[in-house]
């Protein structure tokens, strides 16, 4: 401690800790995040425009849950991942990159060749348990909070603190 041997990255005020999200199409999966120890998000229903599914997979155990925003269980998520969860994994990979998603979920996949199929396959092959779905309300409220970010007005008073968050070309 205090030996002055910090690396350049450790001594940097503007070190990039979280890479920018990659752009992706939101039509099917409007919200995905790695938070609260889960990959979680919201998947739009293919048949009912007013309905969304709240889906999640827990890091490490891959315990999964999927239900509608009105708390009805998803018929497909019995015994294994439903199509909503599969779509969620796929979009998470697009947004955050396979490495970050695999690391967060603690999925062992090898290098460049890994894609949504291999990541999903690696999780399904462990025969994960169905989660209790108690997180759904929380995930949905995080989605609403996320949407609320569109509602704030821009301001022209400077935010000097943003100097610590330079734009970066590097993406996940």
């Amino acid at each position: 401690m205090g030996d002055g041997a910090l690396s350049v990255w450790e001594r940097s005020s503007t070190a990039r800790v979280v890479p920018s999200a990659r752009p992706r199409k939101l039509a099917k999966v409007p919200f995905v995040e790695l938070a609260d120890g889960r990959l979680q998000g919201v998947v739009s229903s293919g048949s009912d425009i007013g309905r969304v599914y709240v889906s999640s997979v827990e890091a490490g155990t891959y315990a999964f849950a999927c239900s509608t925003n009105n708390n009805r269980p998803c018929g497909g998520a019995r015994g294994s991942f439903c199509n909503h969860i599969r779509a969620l994994v796929g979009e998470a990979l697009l947004q955050y990159g396979v490495e970050r998603v695999a690391r967060y979920l603690k999925v062992e996949v090898s290098g460049e060749a890994a894609d949504a199929n291999t990541v999903t396959g690696a999780m399904v092959s462990t025969r994960p348990a169905q989660g209790d779905g108690s997180a759904a309300a929380q995930v949905f409220s995080r989605f609403l909070r996320h949407l609320a970010y569109l509602e704030f007005e821009p301001t022209t008073a400077p935010l000097p603190e943003m100097q610590w968050f330079p734009s970066t070309r590097a993406v996940a």
């Binding site: 401690m1 205090g2 002055g4 910090l6 350049v8 990255w9 450790e10 001594r11 940097s12 005020s13 503007t14 070190a15 800790v17 979280v18 920018s20 999200a21 990659r22 752009p23 199409k25 939101l26 039509a27 409007p30 919200f31 995040e33 938070a35 609260d36 919201v42 739009s44 007013g50 969304v52 925003n69 947004q95 989605f143 609403l144 909070r145 996320h146 949407l147 609320a148 970010y149 569109l150 509602e151 704030f152 007005e153 821009p154 301001t155 022209t156 008073a157 400077p158 935010l159 000097p160 603190e161 943003m162 100097q163 610590w164 968050f165 330079p166 734009s167 970066t168 070309r169 993406v171």
Partner: protein, 464 residues
Amino acid sequence: MRADLLTDAVDGLDEALAAVDGFDEVLVDGLLRPQPAQAVGPAGLADAVAGSPLAGRVAEAAEKTAAGAAGEDHFVALAAARTALLGSVHDALVVRAEEAVGRPRPEEIGTAPPGGAEHAVNLLVAARSWLCDLARAGWRGIDHELVAGASAVVSAMLPEPGLRRLAALLDGFAAELAASCPGATLEQVPVRRWADLWSRAMLLTLPGAVSAPAVAGVTGRLLPLGMDLQEHATAVQAQVHAVFEPADGGASRLVRASVSAPKPDSVVGAGLWQLLRPRLSLLAAVSEGRAMELDAMPVTAEGDLLWDDARARTGEPAEVFATARVALPTAVASPTAPLDRHPARIAVPVLLEGYGVEEGEDGPVFLVAGVRLAVDVDRVPAAGPLTPEAVAGSGACVGLLRWDAGAFVLQPLAVERTVRKKAVAVHAGAWAGGTSDKAGVRAEKAATDTVTVLRERAGRLLRK
């Protein structure tokens, strides 16, 4: 430019940073149950400010911290000491940078009196309490539950424009911490960065800390130099650096105009410009390569224009490299407000010409009068025409001189390349106001679709 000055040692810099590093390392393991070795960090901070008005309070805070008995006020005192030390580092580096570019020194300012109403004190108290919990846990002790504590505070702060600074900081900080949970398994900790964000946030929880009132209204011509973009997952800020020429014939000044907004993390690239565009007509002027005429535009003592579209109209064409060659050399910078003095805040506009280019490990390096100056091409916004290749093939560059991790670096804002014997300029912020570039139009379309989907979902789900 006297580039040699940028690599010369700065007196006292290593000592000041060693005191900062000593304290920062203590935050890695946290202050809940300090080990004897951890007393060294806070004590070093206290020693470093022993000759300042902070001396007594910081010495007491260091002592209490070593005993594991520090309260919130003690943490505030330590954050203040660290901020003061980095402030002195900032000052020394700015003097050096301005010597190097040959810019006239600004007048010193005192602290402007705080203006406006005080903001919800309970939110500031809640934020401080969360930050103190973080300091006790240390970066190695963070978990999802602790980090999630910031979310309610941020949500309550965001609708209040006067609290945007702290809200944007806490939101970005908490997102990084959340992505790094659990701290116990972190391979590497961004030691200085997180201590920066922590101490900055601590000070912003003090009433009056964020006040930056306008001190004058300025009338004259604004000549843009370039665009600096800053973003984290849920906030974005664009800052236009420009030369302002007063209509009364007074000395021209370096100023900035900013626009910022909270954002969903899926809004990226050209979507950022779309979010900011409606609030700052200057973005369009930058894209069109035009000056703007300002009429009594409010400006702070730091040289930040508090932009109001009603006080600006689009002016004559103004070429950035002409501005940089003719107007930039005599423009005077404004001094930085005391609390904002930090090396990360350094952004000195500069024109470089006649340099050599080498390919370094992390992108191009300019050889300026025999000195190697790293070019941070990673900072150039992805939604724009300026590419690392264009920078590497350039013959002139307008950029911001910055300092990080022990060295000056150049952030390119625009470059000039010679194409068929003609100088062609490429600007980092060229797409800010919109573009007819093919790749740019595609990026705009994708970004529009993103926001359309989110708004549709919000319309259906948000108010039920």
